[in-house]
C-alpha cells in the first residue's frame, strides 16, 4: 500500500496549531470558495484561497478517469507512420479518457513515439474542422452536409459536362482505412477517371515501381520485428529514429543482442546515425554511385553470393559489367565517400549476413528514385540477401495506411491490388463489383487528337495512367495542347492530403487559384484550404479520424490490423465511407457502386459497413493475397495479440485455434479464401518455408525468358514444392497440364468456367489472380507451389528507363563538372504530362545557377510532426515541442554569412524568386555546403503569415514556411516522383 501522506505530522501540538488546523483543514479551491462566499470559514484558511486558481492545472478534467464507472477498452492503430502501433483507448461515457500501453501488440509492445503517445488529442482537438463550410465572396460560411455534398456534386457534373471526367482530380489519402481507400478508387472508376492518387506518389512510388519490377511485389519484404535477426543493417536515406521511432525498438535490440553492424548512409548525421556503428556522409543524390561503389568491392573481392545469383537472379552480369565504370576514385569524386569506407561497408554487408537494407525518402524522392531503388535491390541480390530471416529490402513506409492505400490502387496506374489498367483488370473488377465492363467504358472520356498525339477512345483512355499528384497544378495551368487528356484539371477533390508536401508551392498556389472547384475533406484544414486566395467554389468537409470509425489498415510489413471505432465522430465530422457514399448517391451511381455492401444508418445518412467492404476486397484481391484477411480473422488477431511471437510474428502453438499458426495481421499475400487458413506471409520470397506456411519465391511476371536465358528459377524452390524447379504462374491450363485440375472442387471449376465463358481456351487462361473461387491458388499451394510461379529477380529491368541504372546528376546540381558527364534523362512525356528535366538542367548550367545558389538543400521529417503537418501542428502536446520552422546550416556556412544559431534567415531558391523566412539552426549535423529543412510546416508563405486565411478556430497552433516553397522541378520518369531531396539554395541573415 502506498502511503503518501506525511507520517507523524509534526503540526499537531499546541493550542494555536489546533485552532489553525480546525479552520484550515481543507484549503478551498476557487469554486467552493465562491460558493461559500468567503463567509462560512474565516481566519487564515479563507485567505488560503489566494492563488488557488494557480493550483488548478486544468479547468476541465477531460482526461480524468472515474474508477467508479465502467471503462471500455477499444483497440485501434496509430494514425501516423506505418509501423502500425496498437493504440489502447480507455473510453468512459463515450469520451476517450485515457491511453494505455498496448503491451500485447507484437509490433509496438506498449510503446509509442511522440505522435502515437498523443493521438488521444485528435478526438478532443478544438482545432478540427467542426462543420462543412464553403467560401462565399472570400468568407468561410457554415453549411449543412446535404447542401455541401449536393452543391459539390452539381458542380462536378457541370465540370464533367464541360471538360470531361478527367478534369476532376481525385486526390486520396494514405490516412484512409483499406476500405476507405478501396472505395475511393472504386469511386474514381465509377466517375470515369484514372486521375486518382495519394501520398504514396510522393513517398515510395519509386520504391513500388523499382521493387515490383525487380522481384514482383512493391512492398517491404520482411518486417520491423524480423530486423532483430539481422547481423548487418544499412540505412540509406532513412532516418527511422524520427520517422519510424518504434521500429528502432526492434533494430536497437537486434543491434545489441546480435552485436550487429548498423551502417547509416546519409548526408545528414541523423538521430538514427547517432546509434550507428558506422556513419557515412555523402553528397545528396548520388546513391547509384554509392551502390556501384560497394558492388565494385564486392565483385572485386568475390564477395557476391554466386549460388544465389545463379539460381534466383537474372542480369547480374550486366550489373557487374557496369560496375567497372565506378572504381573507387570515380565514386569518391561523385559521392565524396572514400574507397576504404565503402570497402568496409561492402565487406560487412556481404560477409556478415543476414544483412538488410533499409531505405526511405532519402532514396526515393529523386529524379532517379526508381533507379536508386533498383540499385539497392541489386546490392541485396548480389549478396543473396533477399528472402530469408534477417535480410531483405526493408522499406519503411510513411503513413499509417500508405501500404494499404497503395495496395488498393489509389494510384494513377492501377486498379486495386496491382491489377494494372488493362482490359483484363477492368473485366476482373467489373466481375467482382458485379457491374458490366461496358458500364465503365461509358463513364470514361474520349480524348481528341492533339499536340501530335493520337486520339483515344474511352476504352483506350481507361488504360492510360492518370496525372500524378506531383503535377496536378501543372495540369491546371498548362496549355491544353500539352496535356494528354480531354481538358485541363478543373476540379480537385482532396481527401486527407496536404498541399505543402510537393515542391514548387508557388505554382501550386497558382493552380489552386485557377481551379473551378476545390473540395477539401479532412479533419483539419490543410494548405489546400489556406494557401490560395480563392473567394468561391471552395468547400471544407470535416472528416473524422480513423479513431472515429472502424476499418482495417495495412502496416509497412503488410500486416493488416483492424481498428475499432473509439468514439463517435466529433463535432459534425463524418467518416470517409459516408462521404464517398453521399457523393456517389448525388452523382447517381451509388446503387451500382454500393450494391454489394451491407448499408447501415450513419450519422447523417446511409453508409456501408467496413466489414462488408473488406469482404468484397477478399473476393477480388487475389493478385496480392488480400483474400484470406476476413474481418473475422483480423478481429481475432487484434483480440489475441499476446499470442504472437515477437520475432517470427507467428501465433504460438498455445494460441487459440482460430489464430494458431497465423502470422500477425495475416501479412499479404494471405492466399486463398479465409477458410483455407493461409497464415499470411511474414517474409516475402522465402524459399525456406512451404508456401502454405508463408514460403514463396520471386515472381516471374516479365515473361519466361529474355535474351535466350530463362527467367524462371533454376535449382531453387520453396520447401515442400512438388515442382523442384522454376515454374510460371498458375492458370487453369497449367493445372490441366500437371493433371492437378482434378483437385478443384465442382464449385471452383464452375467459377472458372463462368469466368472463361465455358470456352476451353479462355478457361485455360484463367489465372490464379483472376479465379474468383480461389481454387487455382488452393490447388497450387496444396502441391507446395506458389500461385504466381517461381521465377528470377531481375537485376536489369529492360522495360524501364535506364534498364541498367547509371548515375545521373540532379537537375539542380552543385557540380557543374559532373553534369555534362552524368546528365539527367532526356525530356519526355509521362503520365499525360511533359517532363523537361534535361532542358532545365542544361539551362541551369548555362545560367550558373550553382554559383548563385551554392548550398544543397535537402528535406526530411521531424519526429513530432507528420506529412504536411496540419494535424500534428494542431496538437498542443506536439506543437509545443517544435514551435519554429528552421533550416539546419553548417557552422562554416553560417559564420561566413554572419548567421547565428536561432537567428532569422531568408532561404532563397532558384525558381521564381522563391524565398522563405525561417530560423537558423547552426549545427554540424549537416556538412558544409548542405542545408536541411523539415517538410511539415505551412501557414507562412514567403514571409507572409497566412493565419487569417484558415477558417476561424481551425488554424494550426504552429505555422511556418514550407520547404516546398524552395524546392524545385524534377520528376522521376517512371512514377512522376518529385525531387524532394536535392535542390540548391542560398541563405542569408534576415
Amino acid at each position: 500500500m502506498l502511503v503518501k501522506r506525511r507520517n507523524g505530522d509534526t503540526a499537531s501540538t499546541g493550542r494555536l496549531s489546533q485552532m489553525a488546523n480546525a479552520v484550515s483543514a481543507r484549503p478551498l479551491d476557487r469554486r467552493s470558495f465562491l460558493r461559500a462566499s468567503g463567509l462560512t470559514v474565516g481566519g487564515l484558511a479563507a485567505l488560503g484561497t489566494l492563488g488557488a486558481g494557480m493550483t488548478r492545472r486544468v479547468e476541465a478534467a477531460e482526461g480524468f478517469t472515474d474508477m467508479s464507472q465502467p471503462i471500455e477498452i477499444r483497440t485501434n492503430i496509430c494514425t501516423h507512420c506505418s509501423v502500425g502501433c496498437t493504440v489502447k483507448a480507455e473510453v468512459q461515457n463515450g469520451v476517450w479518457v485515457g491511453q494505455e500501453p498496448a503491451y500485447n501488440s507484437p509490433i509496438n509492445r506498449g510503446t509509442h513515439c511522440a505522435k502515437g503517445a498523443s493521438v488521444r488529442e485528435l478526438v478532443h482537438g478544438d482545432r478540427r474542422i467542426k462543420y462543412p463550410m464553403r467560401k462565399v465572396g472570400g468568407t468561410w460560411e457554415r453549411i449543412s452536409w446535404d447542401q455541401a455534398l449536393t452543391e459539390i456534386s452539381e458542380k462536378m457534373t457541370e465540370i464533367r459536362g464541360r471538360s470531361g471526367a478527367d478534369s476532376v482530380y481525385l486526390l486520396g489519402s494514405a490516412k484512409f482505412s483499406n476500405e476507405g481507400a478501396y472505395l475511393f478508387r472504386k469511386f474514381a472508376a465509377f466517375w470515369g477517371t484514372n486521375n486518382v492518387d495519394h501520398q504514396a506518389r510522393i513517398c515510395h512510388s519509386t520504391t513500388v515501381a523499382g521493387v515490383a519490377n525487380t522481384w514482383g511485389y512493391g512492398a517491404m519484404t520482411n518486417s520491423y520485428n524480423d530486423i532483430r535477426n539481422s547481423k548487418t543493417v544499412i540505412f540509406m536515406g532513412s532516418n527511422a529514429a524520427e520517422a519510424h521511432p518504434v521500429s528502432l525498438q526492434h533494430i536497437l535490440e537486434g543491434k545489441e543482442t546480435q552485436r550487429a553492424n548498423v551502417i547509416v548512409f546519409d548526408p545528414r548525421f541523423t538521430r538514427t546515425a547517432a546509434h550507428a556503428t558506422e556513419y557515412v556522409r555523402f553528397r545528396p543524390g548520388t546513391d547509384i554511385a554509392v551502390m556501384y561503389g560497394m558492388l565494385w568491392h564486392i565483385f572485386e573481392n568475390g564477395w557476391e553470393d554466386r549460388d544465389y545469383i545463379a539460381s534466383r537472379v537474372w542480369g547480374m552480369d550486366q550489373i557487374r559489367e557496369e560496375t567497372r565504370a565506378y572504381p573507387p576514385e570515380v565514386v569518391e569524386r561523385i559521392t565524396g565517400i572514400d574507397g576504404e569506407t565503402l570497402r568496409r561497408a561492402a565487406d560487412k554487408f556481404a560477409n556478415e549476413r543476414p544483412s538488410t537494407f533499409i531505405w526511405c525518402m532519402g532514396g526515393t524522392q529523386h529524379t532517379v528514385g526508381t533507379a536508386n531503388v533498383r540499385m539497392y535491390n541489386n546490392l541485396l541480390l548480389a549478396t543473396g540477401n533477399v528472402g530469408g530471416e534477417g535480410n531483405g529490402a526493408n522499406i519503411f513506409r510513411g503513413h499509417c495506411n500508405v501500404q494499404g492505400a497503395t495496395d488498393f490502387g489509389l494510384d494513377v496506374g492501377n486498379l486495386p491490388c496491382y491489377y494494372g489498367l488493362g482490359a483484363g483488370a477492368w473485366q476482373h473488377w467489373a466481375r467482382v463489383w458485379d457491374v458490366p465492363y461496358e458500364y465503365f467504358v461509358g463513364r470514361f472520356d474520349a480524348v481528341a487528337a492533339k499536340g501530335g498525339r493520337d486520339a483515344r477512345t474511352p476504352e483506350q483512355n481507361m488504360e492510360v495512367a492518370g496525372i500524378t499528384s506531383t503535377r496536378w497544378f501543372d495540369a491546371v495551368t498548362i496549355d491544353p495542347e500539352d496535356i494528354d487528356q480531354a481538358d485541363n484539371i478543373k476540379a480537385m477533390l482532396v481527401f486527407g492530403h496536404g498541399g505543402n508536401t510537393v515542391p514548387r508551392m508557388q505554382d501550386a498556389q497558382r493552380g489552386m487559384d485557377a481551379l473551378d472547384l476545390l473540395v477539401v475533406a479532412d479533419p483539419h484544414p490543410t494548405t489546400f484550404a489556406a494557401l490560395h486566395s480563392r473567394t468561391d467554389n471552395t468547400y471544407l468537409l470535416p472528416i473524422c479520424t480513423q479513431f472515429e470509425c472502424s476499418g482495417s489498415r495495412t502496416a509497412s510489413n503488410r500486416s493488416v490490423q483492424w481498428g475499432e471505432k473509439v468514439v463517435e465522430p466529433i463535432f459534425e465530422s463524418d467518416n470517409d465511407y459516408a462521404v464517398i457514399y453521399g457523393l456517389a448517391e448525388r452523382l447517381g451511381f451509388a446503387d451500382e457502386m454500393f450494391k454489394n455492401y451491407e448499408m447501415v444508418q450513419g450519422k447523417f445518412g446511409m453508409e456501408p459497413t467496413p466489414e462488408s467492404v473488406l469482404r468484397e476486397i477478399n473476393r477480388g484481391g487475389w493478385s496480392t493475397g488480400y483474400t484470406g484477411q476476413s474481418p473475422e480473422r483480423l478481429k481475432a488477431h487484434m483480440a489475441n495479440q499476446q499470442h504472437f511471437d515477437l520475432v517470427t510474428l507467428r501465433a504460438l502453438p498455445d494460441a487459440p485455434e482460430e489464430i494458431r499458426g497465423d502470422y500477425y495481421g495475416l501479412p499479404w499475400p494471405c492466399w486463398g479464401t479465409p477458410e483455407l487458413r493461409h497464415p499470411g506471409t511474414h517474409i516475402l520470397y522465402n524459399t525456406n518455408l512451404h508456401p502454405m506456411e508463408g514460403g514463396g519465391a520471386f515472381r516471374p511476371r516479365f515473361g519466361l525468358d529474355r535474351d535466350g536465358e530463362t527467367l524462371l528459377a533454376e535449382g531453387s524452390w520453396p520447401a515442400g514444392s512438388e515442382i523442384e524447379d522454376g515454374y510460371p504462374q498458375f492458370t487453369y491450363g497449367v493445372l490441366q497440364q500437371l493433371g492437378w485440375d482434378t483437385d478443384l472442387t465442382p464449385e471452383e471449376l464452375a467459377t472458372i468456367q463462368s469466368i472463361g465463358n465455358n470456352d476451353p481456351e479462355a478457361m485455360a487462361a484463367v489465372s490464379w489472380s483472376l479465379d474468383l473461387s480461389g481454387g487455382i491458388q488452393r490447388v497450387a499451394l496444396q502441391h507446395g507451389c506458389v500461385p504466381f510461379g517461381n521465377g528470377k529477380a531481375r537485376a536489369v529491368a529492360w522495360n524501364l528507363p535506364d534498364p541498367i541504372p547509371v548515375h545521373r546528376e540532379p537537375i539542380y546540381s552543385p557540380r557543374a563538372d559532373l553534369v555534362a558527364e552524368y546528365p539527367t534523362r532526356e525530356d519526355g512525356r509521362q503520365q499525360r504530362m511533359p517532363n523537361i528535366g534535361l532542358t532545365l538542367q542544361t539551362a541551369n548550367l548555362e545560367n550558373r545557377v550553382a554559383e548563385q545558389f551554392p548550398i544543397i538543400l535537402t528535406s526530411g521529417r521531424l519526429v513530432e510532426y507528420e506529412g504536411g503537418g496540419e494535424e500534428t501542428r494542431s496538437n498542443p502536446w506536439l506543437a509545443e515541442l517544435q514551435q519554429d520552422m528552421f533550416v539546419e546550416i553548417n557552422p562554416a556556412d553560417a559564420s561566413s554569412r554572419g548567421i547565428v544559431d536561432g537567428g532569422w534567415v531568408w532561404v532563397t531558391g532558384p525558381e521564381g524568386g522563391s524565398r522563405a523566412r525561417v530560423k537558423a539552426l547552426v549545427t554540424e549535423r549537416v556538412g558544409p555546403g548542405v542545408a536541411f529543412m523539415p517538410f511539415h510546416f505551412a501557414g507562412w508563405f514567403q514571409g507572409e503569415d497566412q493565419r487569417g486565411k484558415y477558417p476561424e478556430g481551425t488554424d494550426p497552433i504552429v505555422l511556418g514556411e514550407s520547404v516546398n516553397v524552395i524546392t524545385t522541378y524534377g520528376y522521376d520518369p517512371v512514377t512522376g516522383m518529385h525531387e524532394g531531396k536535392v535542390t540548391l539554395c542560398q541563405i542569408a541573415a534576415a
Binding site: L16, H275, G929
Partner: protein
C-alpha cells in the same frame, strides 16, 4: 587583363567548389563507440560543471540536463543559511538581554530638562518609519522563508503556515519597493550627517558612553554608533535591494548560478542586518531613556541631546534661523 582576372576568379571559385566536395580521407565514424558517457563528460567538465544540451522547447533553462552544483546551493540554503539566520537573531537577542541585565536602561544623567529640541522633522520621520516598518515585515517574511518551516510550522500547522507564507511572499515582493524608496530618502536626508570624522574616533574610544554611566563622548547629529547603523542599513539595504530585484526578475538574471549567488548574498545580508536592527530597536526603545522621542514626536529632551549629541546641540543652538531652534517647554 580584365578577362584574365575573370578567368582567375572562375578558376578559384571552381577550386573552392571542388574543395568543398573534394575527396577527403575521412576516418571511420563510429557513433556507438564514440558515444559520450556520463563519467567522461563530468570528468571533462570538472568540478561545478553541468551537463547541457540542445532542446527544442523555447525554455532557456531546459537545455540544462544535470547540474550537480544545485545541490551545493540547496545545502547552503537549507542548512547553513538556516542555521546562520537563527543564530543571528537568537544571538543578538541574547546579547542584548545580557547587556540589559548588566547595564540596565541608560538613563538621562541630568534628568529630563523639560525643554524639547526638534531632532527629526516629519519627512525624516516618515522616511525612517517607512523604512522601519517595511524592513520589519520584510525581515519577518524573509526569515520565515528560511526558518519558518522549523520554527513556525510546528506551532501553527500546515494550512495556516502555508497561507501565512503565501501572504508573506506577496508582502515581501511588494513591500520591497517602499523599502527601497525610503532607503533612498534616508540617504538623501542623512548622508551628509553620516560622513565619519575625528569626533567619531573619540566616541568609539569611549565606547559611546554606553558601557559606563556618566560618560558622554561628544557627537554631532549622529554619533559613530548611529553612523554604523546608518551605513549598515544603507549598504546592507542596497545589497538587499539589488539582490532582491535580481531575484524578482529571474528571467533577466543570466543563469541559475547567478540567482543562487544573489539569494545567498540576500539571505546573509538579511541575517546580519536583522541582528543589527534588533540592536537598533533595543537602543531606540527599552535600552535608552529619551531615545524613542527622536523618532516618536521628533523632539528630544535637551538634556538627552546634550548628553548624546553635544556638538549637534551646540550647532542647533548657534543656528538661530533654524527650525530646530529650541523652544521653552510649556
Amino acid at each position: 587583363m580584365a578577362h584574365n582576372i575573370h578567368r582567375l576568379v572562375v578558376a578559384l571559385g571552381l577550386a573552392l567548389t571542388l574543395g568543398l566536395f573534394a575527396p577527403q580521407a575521412i576516418a571511420q565514424v563510429n557513433p556507438t563507440a564514440q558515444s559520450v558517457t556520463e563519467d567522461a563528460l563530468f570528468e571533462a567538465l570538472g568540478n561545478g560543471g553541468s551537463v547541457t544540451g540542445r532542446i527544442t522547447i523555447p525554455d532557456a533553462h531546459a537545455g540544462q540536463l544535470i547540474a550537480p552544483e544545485n545541490r551545493v546551493w540547496a545545502a547552503l540554503q537549507g542548512e547553513t543559511l538556516h542555521t546562520i539566520s537563527i543564530w543571528a537573531v537568537i544571538g543578538m537577542v541574547a546579547l542584548l538581554t545580557l547587556f540589559y541585565l548588566v547595564r540596565g536602561k541608560i538613563r538621562i544623567d541630568g534628568g529630563m530638562s523639560g525643554r524639547k529640541i526638534l531632532r527629526f522633522n516629519a519627512i525624516e520621520r516618515f522616511a525612517h518609519w517607512t523604512l522601519a516598518s517595511t524592513f520589519i515585515i520584510l525581515a519577518l517574511s524573509g526569515l520565515n522563508i528560511i526558518v519558518g518551516r522549523t520554527v513556525l510550522l510546528p506551532m501553527i500547522g500546515e494550512g495556516a503556515f502555508g497561507t501565512l507564507s503565501a501572504w508573506g511572499k506577496i508582502a515581501h515582493n511588494f513591500l520591497a519597493w517602499p523599502f527601497m524608496v525610503a532607503l533612498v530618502m534616508i540617504v538623501v536626508l542623512w548622508l551628509i550627517h553620516n560622513i565619519p570624522n575625528k569626533v567619531d574616533m573619540e566616541w568609539i574610544k569611549q565606547g559611546g558612553g554606553l558601557l559606563k554611566k556618566g560618560v558622554h563622548p561628544p557627537a554631532k547629529k549622529f554619533n559613530a554608533g548611529q553612523k554604523l547603523i546608518f551605513w549598515s542599513v544603507v549598504l546592507g539595504g542596497a545589497a538587499l535591494s539589488f539582490t532582491g530585484v535580481m531575484m524578482l526578475f529571474p528571467n533577466e538574471v543570466a543563469t541559475f548560478a547567478d540567482w543562487q549567488f544573489y539569494q545567498t548574498i540576500h539571505a546573509l545580508t538579511a541575517a546580519v542586518l536583522s541582528a543589527i536592527i534588533i540592536a537598533h530597536i533595543y537602543i531606540g526603545s527599552v535600552g535608552m531613556e529619551g531615545a524613542f522621542d527622536a523618532m516618536g514626536s521628533g523632539e528630544v529632551d535637551e538634556n538627552w541631546a546634550k548628553e548624546h549629541h553635544s556638538l549637534w546641540v551646540e550647532e542647533v543652538k548657534g543656528d538661530t534661523g533654524s527650525k530646530a531652534r529650541p523652544h521653552p517647554a510649556e
